[in-house]
Amino acid sequence: MSGFVIEFEGEPVQARAGESVAAALTAHGIRGFRVTRSTAERGVFCGMGVCQDCLVEVDGVPGKRACMTVVDRPLSIRRQRHGAALAPVSDALPPATIDELAVERPELLVIGAGPGGLSAAIAARKAGAEVVVLDERRSPGGQYFKPVAVAGDDIAPPDAQHREGLALVAQARAAGVVIRSGVSVWGAFQRLEFAATSDKGETRRYLPRAVVVATGAYERAWPVPGWELPGVMTTGAAQTLWRTARRLPGRRVLIAGNGPLNLQLAAELRSGGAEVVAVVEAAGPATRAPAAVAAMALASPGLVLDGLRYTGRCLTGGVPMLHDMVVSAVAQGPSGLQVTLAGSGATRVLETDVLCLGYGFEPSNELLRALGCRHDHDGTRLVTVRDADGQTSVAGVYALGDCTGLGGARVAAADGTLAGLAAAAGLGHAIGPELARLGRQAASAAQRHRRFQQALWNVYRAPALAIAQVPDDTMICRCEEVRFGAARAAIADGLSDAGSVKRATRIGMGPCQGRYCRPLLEALISDATGKAPDETSGFAPRPPFRPVTIRDLAGKP
């Protein structure tokens, strides 16, 4: 196995080449990364660059996300302390203007290299469009494929899901799609202008003729007392550790949430040698919804088989499956996290090293909102207004997949093909008979997978988060350390919109830019005012959608 010795707070840590700093440190039992204003430690939470809780200093450069920083050489890592002093810099560059930024004018820009973005790129390229795909992660594949990033004899080989992703990436490259990895698109402005910064700190402007937005989703908050503690992470974060770095989040792992991803994670971590303390599912057992299971099996027998396999591996491994229960509190005990579960009139406490929370997703729609694309609110989340081919309310802007509402990887892939073809046609490329047939297949696949998804949601139907029951001392804004009590006080004081509560309480003012607290605050306000949320009821979209280092905008001194 090739690797490097990295330093964490002066102590040597053996890391694998290609894994994230977060994976290397987690594998050595290090859970505390960022240190907050109140001097609390935070750990890996989202594992995908969204939450900003795993911030570290890398070789003296502050504000690096451990989950997005790849170990490609020996690194010196320190915890990022809130409000740390800046190192003095004695020389300065002349002031720059936008004219000094590199500009690219691809015919079609695709943002996001998950199954949807890649499928769109392939389809548009086959129709003759010149396509550039930008993706924030080190390797294409997105949150569904999560490609293996490490190599060695002791590394478990790629599984079928990995191989499917590799094949799709290879297909895109063979078709002539340009894929740029490690590039984060943090700004979308009127007139299809985009700003993106690479992991090397180079900022570019993209002025495409059309764009396909396929930015996926991130996990929704599950706000309970202690959900900000190190060792509490999303199901996706734990899965990324295992699928990309073949690292376990901890020895004992408790997985709680709603939906099949939690089962898949349990099976994966068990195969890696973890002790899965239990899988806690908010919904009842599938046997309670036989009609929905039958509908799923009709729509996609393969996926149902996968689900049965995951369940089987958990059951044969003796993993307790606790249905109709949710996590209601987390506390740090002397020998691990004490997780309180509640449901069916009972509570119980389990001890674990790591708690994974997987209670559904929230679309990453900030680029679409900044572009002015219309959205409907379905009562739970925003859904992008789009036609069957992915055309949004803004000319030249196509969108698909989980960023437009939720549908899963297979719906995204089918919709990607449709959007790619529509975008190419909109750019004046002819869609020949073969591509038209591909489109018809994609349309029918999209329908079938939507039926599957609907049936899946029926199987996993569970009570929604009871926002009124969340205790006042629970964190609502992880970044600014503001609790539910403060939000409720501001609302009781007469503030009746998210922006006003934000200005009064600092909820949503931190570097994650309100991604976790916004839906919670919207629900509180909606409860108090009786007004249903809509596309204007959250915070206004404000670039940069990922914090951007001034130096990367202005040239390096």
Binding site: G63, G83, I98, G187, F189, A195, D493, Q513, L553
Partner: protein, 381 residues
Amino acid sequence: MSATLPTAIGTVVIGGGVVGACVAGFLADEGQDVLVVDEGRGAGSSSNAGSLHVQMQSRFMRLYPENVPNMELQLPLYPKAVAFWRELAGSLNADFDLKMTGGLMVAESQDQLDFLGVKAKRERQLGLDVEILDRAQLDDIAPYFGPGIVGAELCANEGKLNPLLCNAAIRSWILARGVVLAEGVAVTGIARAGTGFAVTTTRGTVTAGRVVLAAGSGSRDLAAGLGLTIPAVAEPLHMNITEATAPLIGHLVQHADRMITLKQFGTGQIVIGGGWPARQDAPGGHPQVELASLIANASLAQHIVPSIGNLRIIRTWAGLNTSVDGMGVLGAVPAIPGLFVAIPGDAGYTLGPLSARLVADVMLGRKPGEDMAPFCPGRFR
């Protein structure tokens, strides 16, 4: 707060920013019935970012050289306005994170330093506490500037505050005084009715004995409906804020020849602005940030204070400044009894509470303690 609109009230204040809210508060302190109508929400003007400006801003001098005589005329009001902010913090017993650390306008060439020298001489005559510093003197009090900076004008009267804290405290004050706050309500017209006015809103009509126009550039159209000319223009401006760092920049920092303001809040965050344009597609619409302004503004900030290059910008926003003729529009409208205007002028937030105090004094029949004639709303044709 979505109050039910009364059908009749003593005074309607149009605009719930710092100016309108303070006018309402001062009137309500004296027991008057006041309704504040604001199109937006949260009773916070969208244009403020916490600078307490006193010295003449080189940006306005460059943009509007014809307004310099008016700027000079209003200049003595600025240090008083800053002092009044402190007084207000005291009387409301509120923490505004107000720091009187002084302001620095930096120069990068002898020409720019000479310009500051001339400006400082004039400002001293007008009562400001200013001095010119060379690089060595500058390094003694502000050891964070880049190598290009040759000196600066220090204005001891300047400072900064956190507008989020101010707006929240002002809001609590006026609500406690019984001011009716109607947010998310737009005024669509004002008509004279008997000895008073009928104010038409998106939520019905309110009759009032007196009306105060405190809606910044939005006052222009409302005034025009009554035959009054107020040539107020909206300036959509770009702002940036970084994550927190240790105390570094004590002063309010500006530049003699380039558009920038830089200051650090008590939270440790650095606010970067200074007049880079935002985009407003429709009048009255929400202004949008522009990439060009973000790049130029951030890059200039790093040029002046190189160490902030390692900080991350976490948010940008666009606010609206209101510019008239270099001077405020304050007081009674001579031709229309019962109509008052409260538009502070170039540095609206700095001048806000004092301007509101002056207008409220006029309305209450008190002596404002300033010659109001230069600010007369009837001065435009």
